[in-house]
């Protein structure tokens, strides 16, 4: 029954999100659209942190590289073709993840966290300090890519409702794609690496290649999120690659509960909702945000997804333990 109940709940949640555009409020359509983009970004990081045990503190680099790719690849005054610029941007960030992965995956533990942060800072300053991409002021994407295939226009991204559903479909596809991969031999090996990499090596797995594969895939999916962000807002800035963004997406994964794709989505929604509500309450909203982060780390190691399990155990008087 458990699996079925969770499937129903997920479909209900999906339906609820799908009705957002019916409200006609363009602000909510865009804000929920952005949260869906962040959900994709969180899922791509969860593949690393939650399933492979690789804590990357520089995941925003690939988000930003794809965002800049679409801004730089699109011609100044007319729309680029979606079916060309999307794969191009995603493969650029996948390439960046592959190259950076070759270096960072040689380290472990805290050094991995720090070296991924260092590479992301390098990417940040490439866009911040050089004229490529308009320096620190960022760059405009004047018109959204057109979805035409040989003249046939299935949908128009400049229409915000089409854009919303395009992002929603992308998020569902990424969810199904990752859920499927984690059932494959490749996925099981990744989970094995997170549980005990030394054992996997002595069983004959070349764990470096698996980790590099996961790192590149996560970079590509993170790039997809960056692409959608740039198209949604039509404006890219070096801050997209800043270490604060890497920290925030890491928090979404932790908040949602590591190693749980639906948890990553829930984490993205919870984090963005908190940020909006706190910002409305007080000028010192970062104080509340910092407090929540400290509380989640101290008292909620399993994240939101872990909460029900803890409640259940508490209710049953803990004899299950």
């Amino acid at each position: 029954m458990n699996a079925q109940a969770s499937l129903i709940l997920k479909l209900v949640a999906l339906a609820l999100v799908a009705c957002v555009p019916l409200s006609g409020e363009s602000f909510y359509i865009e804000i929920v659209g952005k949260i869906l983009v962040m959900a994709i970004f969180a899922m791509s990081l969860d593949l690393l942190v939650g399933f492979t045990g690789l804590v990357s503190f520089g995941h925003a680099a690939y988000f930003g590289i794809a965002a800049y790719a679409v801004a730089l690849l699109s011609p100044e005054y007319e729309a680029a073709n979606l079916w060309l610029v999307l794969p191009a941007s995603v493969s650029l960030s996948a390439l960046a993840a592959f190259v950076i992965g070759l270096f960072v995956l040689r380290t472990k533990g805290i050094y991995f966290i720090m070296v991924t942060l260092a590479f992301a800072q390098m990417a940040y300053f490439i866009f911040h300090d050089t004229p490529l991409g308009g320096g620190s002021d960022g760059k405009y994407l004047n018109n959204k890519p057109s979805a035409s295939i040989f003249g046939w226009e299935p949908f128009d991204l400049s229409n915000e409702v089409h854009m919303f559903y395009f992002i929603l479909v992308m998020m569902v596809l990424v969810y199904l794609f990752l859920a499927r991969i984690l059932q494959s031999p490749f996925g099981r090996a990744l989970v094995g690496i997170k549980s005990n990499e030394h054992r996997m090596q002595s069983l004959g797995y070349f764990t470096f290649r698996y980790k590099l594969g996961a790192f590149t895939l996560a970079g590509a999916l993170g790039g997809l999120a960056g692409f959608l962000y740039a198209v949604l807002f039509g404006f890219v800035t070096p801050e997209l690659l800043s270490w604060h963004e890497s920290g925030n997406v890491l928090l979404m994964v932790i908040l949602g509960g590591m190693g749980n794709l639906a948890g990553a989505i829930a984490g993205a929604f919870a984090f963005e909702a908190m940020r909006e509500v706190f910002a409305d309450i007080t000028k010192y909203w970062q104080l509340l945000m910092g407090g929540v982060i400290v509380a989640v780390v101290l008292f909620l190691p399993g994240g939101l997804a872990g909460v029900p399990g803890r409640i259940k155990r508490a209710l049953q008087g803990g004899e299950v333990k």
Binding site: I110, L117, L250, Y284, G290, I293, V297
Partner: protein, 250 residues
């Protein structure tokens, strides 16, 4: 670029390098000995600066501010260790990184709440407020040289305390046990905790901040940039090198 300017530029880089070493050495103690990665280390730099500003305007003299500041820093370090970091020893590095990331936001807003966002300056004490004439146009502030001397003295003191004294041995032992044999000697581990509770790392760092405070004149609210200096430096600079057998443990 004549030779005199080259000498001055070397002096500049040496002086700024020593300053960064001081910040990095604080983090080495926290990370190398206590094994906790603290992203909020830059915030201590900021807290030290604002502490100097507040105490100097209260007491009127920098020297009094430093004398008052060090115990305050010790207390703050001990409190933080008891309240937050004590829970972190067992946790993995990801949770330490996230918790200290939250701390940055909290310190930032507390500073804005308590002291406001304006730019402040702190006067250099008179006996240090002179400049030495180096070339006919350029003179070098004595205060910067004073700071370099303080940095060197603290570096030597740090080395001596860690390597030569019983306290240093305790700290190092505290470190080995947490990462050393699985059957850690529990007694030493507890004493290790108490040693950290004294916040040795933080107090010494806070004192140096106040001296550097005047070098910077304006207390810049966002000074988290320094933590990466230590990060780039790779492993702990001062803590003892781990025995190679260590690498073998799964």
């Amino acid at each position: 670029m004549d030779f005199a300017s080259f000498l001055i530029q070397t002096l500049n880089s040496l002086q700024y390098g020593l300053l960064l070493f001081l910040v990095a050495s604080g983090l080495t103690l926290v990370f190398g000995i206590m094994g906790i990665i603290n992203l909020a280390h830059g915030s201590f730099y900021m807290i030290g600066a604002y502490l100097a500003f507040v105490l100097t305007s209260a007491t009127g003299s920098l020297v009094a501010a430093i004398a008052l500041g060090i115990p305050l820093a010790l207390a703050f370090g001990a409190f933080l260790e008891w309240a937050l970091f004590a829970h972190l020893y067992k946790r993995d590095h990801l949770e330490q990184v996230l918790l200290t990331y939250g701390l940055i936001l909290i310190f930032e807003q507390l500073r804005s709440l308590l002291v406001g966002d304006d730019v402040h300056g702190v006067a250099i004490p008179d006996f240090l407020d002179a400049s030495i004439q180096l070339t006919e146009v350029m003179s070098y502030p004595v205060y910067r040289l004073a700071i370099s001397v303080v940095c060197i003295v603290l570096a030597v003191a740090l080395y001596y305390v860690i390597q030569r004294t019983r306290l240093g041995m305790m700290i190092r032992a505290g470190n080995d046990d947490e990462h050393g044999q699985p059957r850690a000697d529990h007694l030493l581990r507890d004493r290790g905790h108490r040693r950290h509770r004294l916040g040795v790392g933080r107090a010494r760092r806070r004192a140096d901040r106040r001296l550097r405070r005047h070098l910077r004149q304006g207390a810049h609210p966002r000074t988290v940039r320094h933590r990466r200096v230590c990060g780039d430096g790779g492993g702990p600079a001062v803590a003892p090198r781990r025995h190679p057998q260590e690498r073998l443990r799964p």
